[in-house]
Symmetry: C2
DNA sequence: GTCTATAATTCGATAGAC
DNA sequence: GTCTATCGAATTATAGAC
């Protein structure tokens, strides 16, 4: 999760890196602490020495994953110097870059939040952050109460995040498929603001 | 999964219904066969008597889940009597209705296909069904090679399916929130064809 | 701090009575 | 077919040597 440095990692960091990789890939229930220990190059006892339990270790990973997904978003959403379309463009670039790096992150978060909704309240409240934002107010102003602004938030997240969530279904498993997929995602940085603008314009017609 | 009849279910059916409910809710790894047995109102031994193993039982549920998600789609996609916008409208109505009934279905399928991609080849090949369809050809004709038609397929699935996948994050847990969410989804039957049309029109500008 | 060995528990599966 | 009781394997967690 954190940036790889050339400096050696401490044992605690090695375990956390390994746990992050495997938890995000397989989810909490399908993950074995032995697999994490092996991935970290240490043994099982040491994992419990540092993190006490599988649950505690997962808690660390989940908290950091939510932060990773949300960091940078709030600034874009509440920037008073940008109009709606600029914010959409900013969000698109930010998330395409982030999810190209961590493509499994959204499915992981969605699955684990569904399994345990308290993760949201425990960390930062996503719903409030979205609906209280300057972005959302601009959305309300644009939709003019003709339609629920939440629709457009769903549309934006849908076109932005869903391809990554569905890539195991939509794309092949070969390396060429992955490259092609990433190319498509890169193109979407350009198109998503245009598409969103077009969707918003359907209200004035 | 199957329609509830007033007639009593056989034991095998009771187990399958219970398994479907719990597997879709919690996924393969987080599900305990004991929980399925309890949900079915029988005991653990009987589950293995009918289905031999957890894996075999899951296989039945997964196959039926994929069919449930895909049945009805192929007819819409390959209807030679409808234009693109009609097909989009048909898909929107079909999936909003389906997912209001089975909101956990997409996240379940996406998670389990990611964990075991062979589910797709084992059952019906989704990718081929989509890209070989009359719908996809109409999409290609409309986009005129200016942009990959796959983008619009992702957009459609994104605006259609993502709200259900993300509802644990976007919507509250109370009953009123659920009703409000379903109301929004109902509205989307009307809007999605309009939004998709607007997105496609960005190519002619 | 790190390891090996093992305890304690959970879980899938089966034996065997009815 | 259905049940109770239990086995055996897998998994988390800990004890104790170094």
């Amino acid at each position: 999760m954190a940036e790889q440095e050339t400096t050696a990692l401490t044992t605690e960091e090695k375990i956390k890196e390994a746990a992050t990789k495997i938890f995000i890939e397989k989810g909490f229930s399908a993950t074995r602490t032995r697999d994490i220990a092996m991935e970290a190059g240490i043994n099982l006892a040491l994992l419990n020495y540092y993190f006490r339990s599988k649950e505690k270790l997962f808690e660390v990973v989940m908290t950091e994953s939510l932060q990773l997904f949300l960091v940078g978003l709030e600034e874009i959403l509440n920037d008073v110097n940008t109009v709606l379309k600029d914010k959409i463009a900013g969000i698109a670039i930010h998330y395409v870059d982030l999810l190209k790096k961590y493509p499994d992150l959204p499915l992981f978060i969605l699955s684990e939040v569904k399994a345990n909704p308290s993760w949201l309240e425990a960390n930062s409240n996503v719903r409030e952050m979205l609906t209280q934002s300057n972005f959302y107010k601009q959305l309300e102003a644009t939709t003019q109460k003709k339609v629920e602004p939440l629709h457009f938030l769903m549309n934006l997240l849908g076109v932005l995040v869903f391809p990554f969530v569905a890539s195991p279904v939509l794309t092949g498993t070969e390396a060429a498929d992955k490259a092609e997929f990433n190319q498509l995602m890169e193109e979407r940085k350009y198109w998503i603001p245009i598409w969103m603008e077009a969707m918003l314009k359907t209200l004035s017609a």
